[in-house]
Symmetry: C2
Subunit: 89 residues, 2 copies
């Protein structure tokens, strides 16, 4: 099952709502003996800064969710965009 | 079904491989009458630059996949990290 087919299954009810949405999912899977520090919070901040160069982001329209399960860490950021406008730099 | 439970279902066979992996999924859902330009290729480049500040990325270990279906565009970037090392700036 691919992500696309998974998403298409999830999106069934949203066809009638003509909004632009951007969703960022970051999955960090750590090996058994990993000593890597937890960089997700800082990385999340910088990723949002990059995205905000391309799309208008209203802080109220951002939903952030972090799930952890054993060695798996999942950061999910959902952004609703009433009006999308490219702001290329 | 949450992303975490979806991922946990996908990861069943990888428990024995103790590598660090980072996966970035970017989903762009366009509203019916959206005139927004396709910014995903440029955004992908910049996001990878940000991630490379935090983790060592070998270009050979990056797999990029883009799926499109109607108004849904899914960018999936998988990065394998043999050795994770924080490079905070």
């Amino acid at each position: 099952m691919s992500f696309l087919s998974f998403l298409l299954g999830q999106k069934k009810t949203s066809a009638s709502v003509a909004k632009d949405r951007l969703q960022l999912i970051l999955i960090n899977e750590r090996g058994g003996d990993s000593k890597a520090p937890d960089f997700l919070p800082e990385l999340q901040k910088e990723l949002l800064e990059v995205i905000s160069k391309y799309v208008k982001i209203n802080p109220d329209d951002i939903k952030v969710n972090v799930d952890r399960h054993d060695s798996l860490e999942v950061l999910e950021v959902k952004i609703e965009m009433p009006q999308v406008e490219a702001r290329r730099v």
